[in-house]
Structure formats: C-alpha cells, structure tokens
C-alpha cells in the first residue's frame, strides 16, 4: 500500500487534490481511497488530506500514520505544522517551492506550483488552485501515470488550463 498525506491551506484545493490522485490511481487499475480530516473548515486554515493506493480494495478508514509521501502545498505550514510527522524512512517529500531543500534520510522534490497556477490563471474565489498541477508533479514522481492523471483531470475539471498546468508541473521536475 502507498500512503500519501497532503498538507494544504483551506482554499488551495488540497482536498480535491486527494480525490484527483485517487481517481487517477483507479484509472491506473489500482484501488484507492481519499479522505480528509474534517474540522471547521476556513480559508487559509491548515488542512490535511489522505490518499491510499493499493492493489486490493482499501479497507482502512483511520488516518494515515506512516505516510510514504508527504506533499506540502504551502511551505509556510512547515513552521506551524509537523508536516514530516512519522514519514517513513526513505519516504518522499514534495514541496511547492521554487527552491529545493535537502532533508537527510528522505528524498525531496520541489516545483513551483503557485507560479504555474498563476501562469495558467487557475484562480477560484481569489485563490490559486494547486491541485491539478500537483497531479502533474505526482505523475512525474510515478505515483500515478501521466495518462491517468490527464484522464482524471479531464473528468473532474474539463477546462484545458488544468491539463496544461499538470503538464507544466510534470515538465518542470527533472526525472
């Protein structure tokens, strides 16, 4: 089983990102679930969402304890939230940032999703939407295939800017 924890702020699309990843994984022929810890949701407040991907049906409902991958959509969260809590040894880190940072014991990857969303005018209610570019980054990290990522985005968000943003993120990360 591959377990992902996504840290975001309310309004950035982190919850929808978890659903997109799960849908793309299902298109890859896998089983997947996506869930969120629901609390009074406010724009700007820290939000945690979870994705589980497996070869057989997922029967777990509790929160992910030891993720294989942690994605951080707002690096400011790293100052207030223990984003790497119980991340597996050798686990992956994705940070939405223009600069890379090394975390010993983990492999970390970065891309400037905010810049990509800005370029593609992916804005809802004044917030840049980072979920579709994040899916592109996940495709580059082989969490899901690029084809399935495209298919999932087309199903949930037919506007072509979303696909372009995902492909841009895919292209920005060196394999």
């Amino acid at each position: 089983m591959f377990e992902i924890r996504i840290h975001s702020r309310g309004g950035q699309g982190g919850v929808t990102a978890s659903r997109l990843v799960a849908l793309a994984a299902i298109h890859d022929g896998k089983h997947a679930t996506a869930c969120v810890f629901y609390s009074p949701q406010r724009r700007g407040a820290p939000v945690i969402s979870f994705v589980r991907i497996d070869d057989s049906p997922v029967r777990i409902y509790s929160h992910i304890q030891n993720p294989d991958l942690v994605a951080i959509l707002d690096k400011g969260l790293m100052e207030t939230v223990d984003v790497f809590q119980k991340l597996k040894k050798g686990g992956k880190i994705f940070i939405n940032s223009s600069e890379g940072k090394i975390f010993p014991g983990f492999s970390s990857i970065h891309a400037d999703l905010t810049q990509i969303a800005h370029r593609e005018h992916l804005v809802v209610a004044g917030y840049l939407i980072l979920n579709t570019p994040l899916l592109g980054a996940f495709a580059r990290m082989c969490v899901v295939s690029l084809d399935s990522a495209r298919k999932a985005i087309r199903e949930m968000f037919p506007d072509p800017r979303n696909i372009r943003a995902a492909e841009a993120a895919y292209g920005e990360i060196s394999p």
């Binding site: 978890s18 799960a22 869930c35 777990i60 409902y61």
Partner: protein
Amino acid sequence: MKTIATGNKAVAEAVQQARPAVIAAYPITPQTAIIEQIAEAVSSGTLNSRFISVESEHSAMAACIGASLTGVRTFTATSSQGLLYMHEMTNWAAGSRLPIVMANVNRAVAPGWNIWADHTDSLQERDTGWLQVYAGSVQEAYDSVLMAFPIAEHEDVLLPVMVNLDGFALSHIFQPLETVEIGDFIAPLYLPHAIDTRDPAGYGVLTGPESYFKFRWDIERSMRDSVNVIQSVQEDFSRRFGRSYGFTEDYLCSDAEVVVMAIGTLGKEAEIAVDLLRAEGIKAGSMRLRWLRPFPELNLAGREVVVIDRSYSFGFGGVLATSVRSRINREVYSVIAGLGGQEVSYEDIAGFVRRRCIGREDWFGMNGHV
C-alpha cells in the same frame, strides 16, 4: 458503471434510481450532500419527484408519512440531532406500517457539539420498529439503499428501513463505486392500506387497551418475517448484480478462536486488525454486524468475542455488547471506542484483541485502559 464517489453521493445515486415520488428533507451536517444532490436532480428534471423543503426534521418525517399513506414511495435523509428531533414521527411511521426509506449519516449527539461518527443517534431509534442496516463501504451504502426499498415495501414487512453510514468516515470518503442498471429489481409499490378517497377510512384514531397490543404484536411479527425477506432480497441482488451480502459480514471466522464484532467502518477496519493478528499466530476473525434490526442469529459457538461499541447506554453498557451477550448467553470483552469520531486504527483494534479480558468493559483512551 465504475466511478469514484463519496458515501453521500452513493446514497443519492441509489435514491435517484429507486425514483421515490416524494422526498422531504432538512439539511444537516454531514448528510447535506445527499439532499443537495437529490434536490438538484429534481430541479433539473432528471428525477421526476416532488421535493418538499421543510422547516425541520420533524416535518420532514411527517411529510414522508403523509405522502407514504397515499401509497407512493418516499425517502428522506438526516443525521444526529435531526434524527432525534424526528423521533416522535419515526415511531409514527413504523406504527402506520409505512415503507419509508431513510438514510441516516451516523453522527454524535450534543453536547459537546460534535459532527463526527458515532452510533448514538440511530441506536436511540432502535426500539421504534424501523429496520436498521449499517454500511461498511461506499459501495455497500449504494447497494443497501437499493435493497432497502424492496425490503421495506414487501407485503410481509411494510415497515420503514433506515440505512446508516458513518459520518465523514464513510459519508465523505472517496472510494470506488460500481453503479448498476436496476431494471425491475424494485417492483412497483403496492400499499394495501393506502388512502383512497373512494373508500374513506380513519387513520391514527384512538386505539383502546383491547386492541393496541395487537398492533404492536403485528409489528414484531413483520419484524420476524423480515428476516426471510431480507435474505431473499439480498440473494436476488447477488444474482442480478454479483455482490453478496448477509446479516453480518464474516472475515476469517470459520476457524477463529476470537472474533471482533463491530458496526460500520470500524467493523471493516477490524479486518486489517485480523490480518495483523493472524500474522502473529492469533486465530482471529471479524464479524461486522450489518443488520441491527432485525438482530440476526450469531454463529459464535466456542469463540471468545470482543465487541466494539461506538455508543453507550448509560448505567448499563455498550448497546452492541449487551445485545451480543444476550444473544450468545455468554460474557464478552466490551470496548467502548470511536465515540464522537475518536480515532481508532486497526493497530488499536488488534490491541483490544491481544489484551482482551472476557467479562470486562474498557473505554478506549480513558485512564490508561486498553
């Protein structure tokens, strides 16, 4: 068709396929998405039903009762405080022998104000004469709503059915969902005591001590008869659509020495705990209760039983633990866990089994217990 959906969406999909003539409802977290989706389908014309927006859950059930009495299919959805507010009318629905189907998204009862999963709301409706089924996955929520209509509407039953799903844990999780073409799986409703202006009759009139008990017995007789109806509807569903359901979902029970019993998502998560325990050499099994009313026979001879309750009857014990104990005439290990959405993982459940103490009750997380 294969898709991905939340528990709420799965329920709304199934309701749209069952095509109730009347839906009356009031929004409440975490159920609101069910009603929103159905209301949208009605307003866009994809669902040819009457949607009655009411000012309270009490009125939602009253409207369903009035509509159902005319012999048409009805549906509502609620949760927690809403279900409790409906309580007078839930009794009325069952006593009037109306096959109303309701989805209840299980949520804790206030105070303290809490919107997360807990079974106290539906268990306080246990003795009203409603059949109660609890889903353990998004797929099962969808399938259970489809099956609820033919069960409720069967001439041997004619009692309302409540389909329960855990708040957020199931109502808001995204899981794969395979929808079906239902064809003639749900037969047209025939209500023998429907209101008929050509044959006027009185309803809800004073019923004296000489006859009231007969109506109560009649509910119990139908409740007992519903066992065969549930079985045959579940078999018919399996034949048509390939997914099989029982009164319980048993996982590795046949050679188990200890069995975990739970309801809803905790019962599903218990299967992972069983896998862990088996790897350690503990012969464990999981029995997830689907139908709480009618309460099924339990094949637990010769096994120790660990019961997880996500609710409590103050002054006595866990409702499920009490029921199981009385069914098997033996003590169990009772764990009270998951109240108000308390996080309970498969590791925790495996821990309950490892440290079981038959005859004792422990509250998970309290005073170093469990």
